[in-house]
């Protein structure tokens, strides 16, 4: 009977009911639509990053600065930031390897250089990878041409997208074995390396930003980034450093650049000299133990279905005292992934604000409805209805309305999504396309998002009802007579 009473009251007060339906429905539809897109972007990012470059956990040096595989996650810091190497890599690697949940453990060193291929020069991020394990950690990386790098081999792999871009520009096919020239110029000096192209890859879950990556051997990245050189190079000779101890004017005194001083015609930088230096440094690189050198990261792919959080917590406990820490894929993916989190938080904050405004309006409508029904409620009280009965009646009506509004809101949101998907909106911006997991917007229906949005509607109905319900409960039976 009480349900019947609720339903008939809803129908009888249909003007109020419609306004509440509309308000809660719109908020629910917005929440569903927005969170579906954000959930899609989460999935897209996860597919792009977790399956392609970050795996599940990344061990990095604990510097107090949030770091991704590409550098510092704070843009201003990143300008002056050099990725630190892992201390006690071997010990930490063994700890990671001993995790029963770990499927693959691999190491990586990150750098950047200018790549010269067929005369096209492009800045590239370099991932120096442990080729023996890296590609089994990322089965999403597919070989299109050539082969994967071999352990200890010096060579590089570029993405199919880059190869196509260069081919289009130069109208020449990029072939396996093509020499790739990598150069860096930094405070540690000018570095140049020539490596053969051993393979061209693509991703199972493509992402424009990741197409820029170049996979190479770790010793090349270390050399280009001066990781080992910086720590192992001997101090400069005394005569060189002595120059710095004198007066600054002495550097530009009589002995420097005077017009009458004869200059040696062959004293300048020659191509032969460069090549001989290249060979010398290359020999020096090869003499290094490629596996035992410095690394920036250890990447861990967990077995399928293993929850990441508990493993991360337990691993970080084991890593205490090593000066390193394990981070999740989102931190390791960098700003793009963190941006989604920020956008999601901002969006939901917006929804909360809209919800609060909507709730204020609903509270107002419900209060007016309660005042209009004072005689009816007073009559029920006079007949002996308990507080619980009145509470159930008024709250029940509002929850039925909110539930219906939630369902209709999700339905409207789903129709909106279907329309959006049918429009096949193309995203030219690489960040946006990475965020949404593809260049064409295609947001799938998520039951959990739908249920979450319906819960938002019910929550809204519940919270908006609290005050009006208590107002209804406080109505005394005597008003049934007074308003009679």
């Amino acid at each position: 009977m009480i349900l019947l009473q609720m339903l008939r009251n809803i129908f009888r007060n249909r003007k109020n009911s419609l306004v509440i339906l509309l308000l809660v429905g719109v908020i629910t539809a917005l929440s569903f639509l927005g969170n579906s897109i954000l959930s899609q972007s989460q999935k897209g990012l996860q597919a792009s990053y977790r399956e392609n470059i970050t795996a599940d956990l990344v061990i990095q040096r604990d510097t107090g600065v949030s770091m991704s595989l590409f550098g510092a996650n704070t843009p201003i810091i990143d300008e002056f930031f050099t990725l630190p190497v892992l201390p006690a890599h071997e010990a930490v690697y063994q700890i990671a390897l001993s995790l029963p949940e770990a499927e693959v453990v691999t190491s990586q060193v990150t750098g950047s250089a200018v790549l010269d291929i067929l005369g096209v020069r492009e800045p590239v991020p370099l991932f120096g990878v442990d080729a023996g394990t890296y590609f089994s950690a990322f089965p999403g990386i597919r070989l299109k041409e050539g082969r994967f790098l071999k352990p200890g081999e010096q060579g590089a792999m570029i993405s199919a997208a880059r190869a196509e871009r260069i081919e289009k520009r130069k109208k020449t096919k990029v072939t396996i074995g093509e020499p790739l020239l990598f150069t860096t110029a930094a405070s540690a000096g000018f570095k140049i390396r020539e490596l053969p192209l051993v393979g061209i890859f693509s991703y199972e879950n493509p992402a424009q930003l990741l197409d820029e990556l170049v996979f190479t051997d770790p010793q090349t990245v270390r050399a280009l980034s001066s990781i080992l050189l910086a720590s192992d190079e001997p101090d400069p000779p005394a005569e060189a450093s002595g120059l710095l101890s004198g007066e600054i004017d002495d550097l530009f005194g009589d002995a420097f650049g005077t017009a009458d001083e004869p200059t040696e015609p062959d004293a300048g930088f020659s191509l032969d000299e460069l090549k001989s230096r290249l060979v010398r440094e290359k020999d020096s690189d090869e003499s290094q133990d490629w596996r035992g050198g410095d690394w920036n990261f250890i990447l861990i792919r967990l077995k399928a279905g293993v929850p990441v959080g508990p493993v991360q917590t337990s691993l970080n406990r084991q890593l205490e005292g090593y000066g390193v820490r394990a981070v999740g894929w989102r931190t390791a993916a960098g700003n793009t992934a963190l941006l989604v989190l920020l956008v999601q938080a901002l969006f939901n904050a917006g929804i909360v604000l809209v919800g609060i405004a909507g709730m204020a309006a609903i509270v107002n409508i419900l209060l007016i409805a309660v005042f209009r029904r004072t005689r009816e409620i007073g009559t029920l009280r006079a007949m002996g209805a308990s507080d619980g009965y009145i509470r159930t009646l008024v709250l029940g009506e509002n929850l039925i309305l909110s539930g219906l509004a939630g369902f209709l809101g999700v339905l409207a949101g789903w129709i909106g999504l279907t329309y959006l998907n049918r429009q096949a909106v193309s995203l030219e911006n690489p960040i946006l396309s990475t965020l949404l997991g593809g260049q064409i917007i295609n947001v799938s229906f998520s039951l959990s998002v739908a249920m979450g949005s319906a819960a938002v509607a019910l929550g809204l109905g519940l919270f908006a009802s609290l005050y009006p319900v208590e107002t209804a409960v406080r109505i005394e039976p005597i008003v049934a007579v007074k308003r009679g």
């Binding site: 009888r12 308990s386 049934a480 007579v481």
Partner: protein
């Protein structure tokens, strides 16, 4: 043994800086099975006294005893329970719930209390009550589809639904024409005689109060006279 007993009942309402005394030391005993009329002009305190006896208002001073129990110490919940179990109300404006039909309105009091009858028994009782008040053919109608007299008859059936010992009716004929009013009172009288239910109703209509066997005249918040027949 009185079923309702009022002792030195005062009810005072604040009115700005002054006070209005609606009841001034009223004492009254009503016996079980009485058909009582509280008569008096408007503003004499009839409604206040009815509300106090019906436990929907509390006296400023004095004591109300109902079914041998002093009600002044009762909390909200116990008052509601007592009202539900022992008192039926008939309102001047009928106060039927507009969203329920006649049958459902009569059934409702049986559904809002603690002890509920089995469905079949409940429906049989409602059908019996509707037969008693002559509304069997109107049981599926909503209140808005009924005449004033029919609505008041439905309200009488509703007041009797929980088999109360006392039915309190505040000016039950005020919104009815005189002929219909008399019929409603005749119905109440018949139920009083057949079921033994105590009826207490207020009126300022001499034709109506003449039908009561116990008439209490109120004037200016005090009992001016009391007649038992």
């Amino acid at each position: 043994m009185p079923i309702v007993s009022l002792r030195n009942l005062w009810k005072t309402y604040p009115l700005g800086k002054t006070e209005v005394h609606a009841l001034k030391g009223v004492s009254l005993d009503i016996n079980a099975g009485d058909f009582v009329s509280i008569a008096g002009p408007s503003g004499s305190g009839k409604t206040t006294m009815m509300n106090t006896m019906g436990l929907i208002d509390t006296p400023t001073q004095g004591e109300v005893q109902l079914l041998d129990r002093i009600v002044s110490g009762m909390g909200r919940r116990e008052l509601a329970r007592t009202r539900h179990d022992h008192i039926g109300f008939i309102f001047q404006s009928f106060n039927l719930l507009p969203v329920l039909n006649v049958f459902e309105n009569v059934e409702l009091p049986m559904l809002i209390g603690r002890c509920r009858l089995p469905r079949q028994e409940r429906r049989e009782w409602v059908t019996h009550l509707l037969e008693q008040v002559g509304l069997t053919d109107r049981k599926d109608h909503r209140p808005a589809e009924l005449s004033g007299g029919q609505q008041q008859r439905a309200a009488i059936a509703r007041a009797l639904a929980t088999r109360p010992r006392i039915v309190i009716a505040d000016e039950p004929t005020a919104n009815l024409d005189s002929k219909t009013g008399e019929r409603v009172l005749e119905l109440m009288k018949r139920i009083n005689q057949e079921e033994g239910t105590t009826f207490i109703f207020s009126t300022h209509d001499p034709v109506i109060w003449e039908m009561a066997d116990h008439v209490v005249f109120l004037h200016d918040g005090q009992i001016s006279s009391e007649t038992r027949r």
